[in-house]
């Protein structure tokens, strides 16, 4: 079968209090592919990412995840708004990693990884713990399970945050500038975990300023500017020989 793309957006719009932040975004993310979203600050990258898992509601356009409309259900030729429970269930299938980690401060590393499995998936504590330990091992933090987030470095916290998202066995992972809050020497350890994840076949949408990562790992790069996709394509081509002036000037600033 020809598989439907994991994410497909066409003409997605979003405005806050009359200010248009997204002005018709078109984008496709295929299964098992890594898509990097780059663009200047304030161009709407976070907003678009948050629309994908319905943390924000888009105003217009069509946004589908795994073939299903985000926030609606089409039945008998009508669109029904999803109720809170269904929205939560859909969100639980999409992992999200934040710039500022957002680990649960009052829980240990292990508890951060088990809480979603137990409360959302209804998993037993034992199985949740086993899964959590396996994932901590995978991100190289198996000796930190009893620590609280405040006792970890930024890089370690972000690796825990990735493991926390993976604990839900998501079909799609969203990263919003996962290395922007890190000291330069800690960026590498997080990118390594992400590369590893990409290699394992995870579908990923990554908002990033790490052009090296985009070049090396991404299958497609999208350049978002002023709420629209200005340019997209293979990272080697797009990043080495940008056709639009805006991308040229953006790249000259970040590189």
């Amino acid at each position: 079968m020809t598989s439907v793309p994991m994410v497909s957006a066409s003409g997605v719009c979003k405005s806050y209090a009359g200010i248009e932040v997204l002005r018709g975004v078109d984008l496709t993310v295929n299964r098992g592919e890594v898509t990097c979203l780059i663009g200047p600050s304030g161009s709407g990258k976070s907003t678009f990412l948050r629309c994908i898992n319905h943390l924000e509601k888009h105003d217009a356009g069509e946004l589908r995840v795994d073939g299903d409309l985000v926030g609606y259900e089409a039945r008998n030729g009508k669109l029904y708004e999803l109720n809170d429970k269904r929205i939560c269930q859909k969100r639980s299938e999409i992992g999200m990693v934040f710039q500022r980690f957002n680990l649960f401060q009052h829980l240990t590393v292990l508890e951060n990884l088990t809480i979603g499995q137990i409360k959302v998936r209804g998993q037993s504590t034992d199985r949740a713990k086993a899964k959590a330990r396996e994932l901590l091992d995978r991100v190289g933090l198996d000796n930190k399970e009893k620590h609280y987030p405040s006792q970890l470095s930024g890089g370690q916290q972000q690796r825990v945050a990735i493991a926390r998202a993976l604990a839900m066995e998501p079909k799609l992972m969203l990263f919003d500038e996962p290395t922007s809050a890190l000291d330069p020497e800690l960026v590498g350890e997080v990118l390594d975990v992400m590369k590893d994840l990409a290699q394992s076949g995870m579908t990923m949408v990554v908002v990033t300023h790490e052009m090296g990562f985009a070049r090396e790992v991404a299958d497609t790069v999208y350049f978002l500017d002023g709420g629209v996709i200005e340019e997209s394509g293979n990272p080697r081509e797009v990043l080495s020989a940008p056709s639009s002036e805006r991308l040229k000037s953006f790249l000259s600033k970040v590189l």
């Binding site: 898992n53 943390l55 809170d84 429970k85 939560c88 269930q89 859909k90 969100r91 639980s92 299938e93 999409i94 992992g95 999200m96 934040f98 500022r100 957002n102 680990l103 649960f104 401060q105 009052h106 829980l107 240990t108 809480i115 979603g116 409360k119 959302v120 609280y148 987030p149 405040s150 006792q151 945050a161 926390r164 998202a165 839900m168």
Partner: protein, 335 residues
């Protein structure tokens, strides 16, 4: 520590003259307080006896603060019973206040305008009227509503009829008044706590697929506790003493019990001291409990947990002891 060549230099610590004057004043005041607490006064009566045929009289003295009477009443059953009622009132009113206050705080923060406006009105009303008035109001509610009927609003369908007077006995009226009043204050405390939790925590919980309720229970409230506990501790201690107002609607709690006793024997001062001692004892116990609760809910917020009181006392004692040690010449630093 510094040395000049190989000659040992004596280190002269800074002298805190003002600090020592302050200490001296405090010591004098303390001595005065202890002195007056333990002072004796003439009773105006004399003890007379015959010494080799001559009658000799000595004036009798007694404690200014009547400690003998205080001791006599401190552990009587009436006082104990009053103490028990005070504790019951405090605990139940606080449970009502905290749970209702938390609910009101959550309602206040709801995006639903009707919910948030009702929550705001509640706080406005119950904070805006004196607790004494509320107490008298609930104790006399039967004047307004002699009968309580449970049925369907605005329809002539009723299930249960009750006499309000038989429900709103003084103790229950006091619970309702103190609990509802407390809820207004607790809702503001809880709201401050909920607002103090980083929004990123809620986003992370949502992105895992937690519902609003799950996020509140598992993520927001546990973290808000760190901010909520200290002022709540104050509220409990404050409630302990506010509950004495219940004596006005004839609940015999601690203050009421004392008043019953001194209205017949006129030993007002000793009985006020008796109940003050009990209030202080309970307050002390509550403060210790509050400390450990704060420590429990601080987990994760600090890299190193705060010291226990015993650890802190040890460092204090060491600190004071070091003040009295003569500074040693700076020898061991230089080699």
């Amino acid at each position: 520590m510094s040395t000049n060549g190989d000659a040992t230099t004596r280190v002269v610590p800074v002298r805190h003259v003002k600090q020592w004057i302050g200490v001296a004043v405090a010591m004098v005041v303390l001595a005065m307080i202890i002195h007056t607490l333990l002072s004796k006064v003439g009773t105006g009566t004399y003890h007379c006896h015959l010494v080799s045929g001559i009658r000799r009289c000595v004036p009798l003295h007694t404690w200014r603060f009547s400690w003998n009477i205080v001791g006599q009443y401190l552990t009587t059953s009436e006082i104990f019973h009053g103490l028990l009622v005070t504790i019951e009132l405090t605990v139940i009113a606080m449970v009502v206040g905290i749970s209702l206050g938390m609910t009101i705080a959550i309602m206040r923060m709801s995006p639903n305008r009707v919910l948030s406006a009702s929550a705001w009105s509640y706080t406005w009303f119950f904070r805006g009227t004196p607790v004494l008035v509320q107490l008298l109001f609930w104790a006399n509610i039967a004047i307004l509503y002699p009968k309580l009927t449970i049925g369907i609003p605005f329809l002539p369908v009723t299930f249960i009829h009750l006499s309000v007077n038989s429900i709103f006995v003084p103790f229950f009226a006091a619970i309702v008044a103190l609990g509802l009043n407390e809820a207004a204050y607790m809702s503001e405390i809880a709201r401050a706590g909920l607002l103090a939790v980083d929004e990123g925590q809620v986003e992370a919980a949502s992105s895992l697929g937690m519902t609003r309720g799950q996020t509140l229970r598992n993520v927001v409230i546990p973290q808000a506790m760190r901010v909520i506990i200290p002022p709540t501790g104050n509220e409990v201690i404050s409630m302990l003493k506010t509950s004495s107002l219940a004596s006005i609607v004839s609940v015999t709690e601690l203050a009421g019990a004392a008043s019953n006793i001194y209205s017949s024997n006129y030993e007002i001062m000793p009985l006020l001291i008796v109940i003050s001692i009990w209030y202080l004892i309970i307050t002390t116990i509550l403060s210790i409990g509050q400390y450990y609760l704060e420590r429990y809910f601080a987990k994760g917020a600090l890299r190193t947990p705060p010291p226990t009181p015993i650890q802190r006392m040890r460092t204090d004692v060491r600190g004071i002891a070091s003040k009295f040690r003569t500074p040693r010449p700076a020898r061991e630093g230089a080699r």
